[in-house]
Amino acid sequence: MAETIKYNEEELVQLLKTSDQSAFEYLYDHYSGALNGVIFKIIDDQHLAEDLLQEAFVKIWNNFSSYDPSKGRLFTWMLNITRNLTIDTVRSKGYKKQAKIQNSEIAVSHTSNNINENDKFDALGIRKQTMLLNEGQKSVIDLAYFEGFTQEEISKILGIPLGTVKTRMRSAISVLKKLLEPKN
């Protein structure tokens, strides 16, 4: 099991480029929950979500050579693949797009308990502090980051001015960034 091994992102990417199975399992163990959570923000169907997660990981694997670390972190790249795949599926299946503005309670109840214990960050602490995002900030971040809506679309969905969307987004990210600081 990969639990005893801890890769930094550079090592992980290097191993993945050599088609290393344990590296791939490590990737799955660390990010499947987060990516599944993203899919779940867009669709409610668990079976479909897991099908899509499977499809996404296969796609990540098959297209790994196209990942360019100079353009961003691995997870960002994976999230984009997963999100685009999910959105494409939802559109092709005639899903009605609905902005799901979850309140903090639901978000916390959906939060995974299964975060790898070797991770150096305190999941509970993060969760607590994630709740420091106010409703407005949270809805903007979720719609953009998890569901891939542009600022203009978010403005329409939430019925708030574009400027407000931009302000909330920046303030939300600065809150999240501050959460990282003690760990760095």
Binding site: F24, S32, A34, G37, T76, T111, S112, A144, I173, L180
Partner: protein
């Protein structure tokens, strides 16, 4: 855009969230090349978003991982399948399949038990029926032979040439009676012994014809199984009298006159 202008534009955040247009993406990537220190800034934004995503994680079902591994590393699946002769192509549907097979196995088992019960029941019924059939067959056979005997008896009695002769009981057996049907055309003799007394063990009735003053054996009367049927005896063309004596089994060359049961003069 210089570095500060770029940072304050908020494009880096949008880029990190993957919601920039293609033109915006191009701008960001150009700036990243131009100002490598921006990579640090982007990295922090991405990390903070990544942690946010992880804090919103929902663990998928445990079998999803194996499905993906099987799909991505088919060789490892092959290796597994060599070690254990499980059809590994179906591993991704293992759960529903094993359930499916369990259901099939259960159904087969129930069918088997049901079949056994039916077999047992029908075998028993078959046996009973077989026995009943045998009994019915036997009854039918008996009836058949009784019928045949009766129609034979009737044929004899109703023959237009049949001359009935009644042999009356002697002082030895005053209640005894026998009837002879003598066919005048052919000389055939039939006897109806149904009113003769039961034969003691080891004895048998013998018919005699008195021809020219001498007794001539007319044959043994079959009274086996207590059935007294009209039966054919030896033919007599000419006879003065008929008599039946009780003789030892198989008959005697001459009649035991003391044991004469019935007689009739012609």
């Amino acid at each position: 855009m210089n570095k500060e202008e770029f940072i304050s534009s908020g494009l880096l955040e949008l880029y990190a969230m993957g919601i920039t247009s293609s033109e915006e993406t191009q701008i960001v990537e150009e700036h990243l090349k131009q100002f490598p220190e921006l990579r640090q800034e982007l990295d922090e934004i991405e990390k903070s978003l990544e942690k946010y995503a992880i804090s919103n994680a929902i663990e998928p079902s445990s079998f999803v991982k194996q499905n993906i591994i099987n799909q991505v590393f088919p060789q490892s699946v092959k290796k597994e399948s060599q070690e254990t002769p499980v059809v590994s192509i179906n591993t991704n549907t293992k759960k529903p399949f094993s359930l499916f097979y369990k259901a099939i196995a259960a159904a087969v088992f129930i069918l088997l038990i049901g079949s056994m019960i039916l077999n047992y029941t029908y075998f028993n019924k078959y046996h009973t029926t077989q026995n009943q059939l045998a009994i019915a067959q036997q009854k039918l056979d008996e009836q058949e032979s009784a019928n045949q005997a009766m129609s034979h008896d009737l044929d004899v009695v109703t023959d237009k040439y049949a001359m009935p002769v009644v042999l009356n009981g002697t002082p030895h057996a005053p209640d005894a009676l026998a009837k002879i049907f003598w066919m005048k055309n052919s000389g055939q003799v039939y006897i109806d012994p149904s009113n003769l007394p039961a034969v003691p063990a080891g004895k048998q009735y013998q018919l005699w014809g008195i021809v020219d003053g001498k007794p001539v054996s007319g044959g043994m009367i079959q009274t086996s199984k207590g059935v007294y049927q009209i039966q054919k005896m030896k033919s007599f063309g000419k006879v003065d009298a008929f008599a039946i004596t009780l003789e030892k089994e198989g008959g005697s060359p001459t009649p035991t006159m003391d044991e004469m049961i019935v007689s009739a003069k012609m």
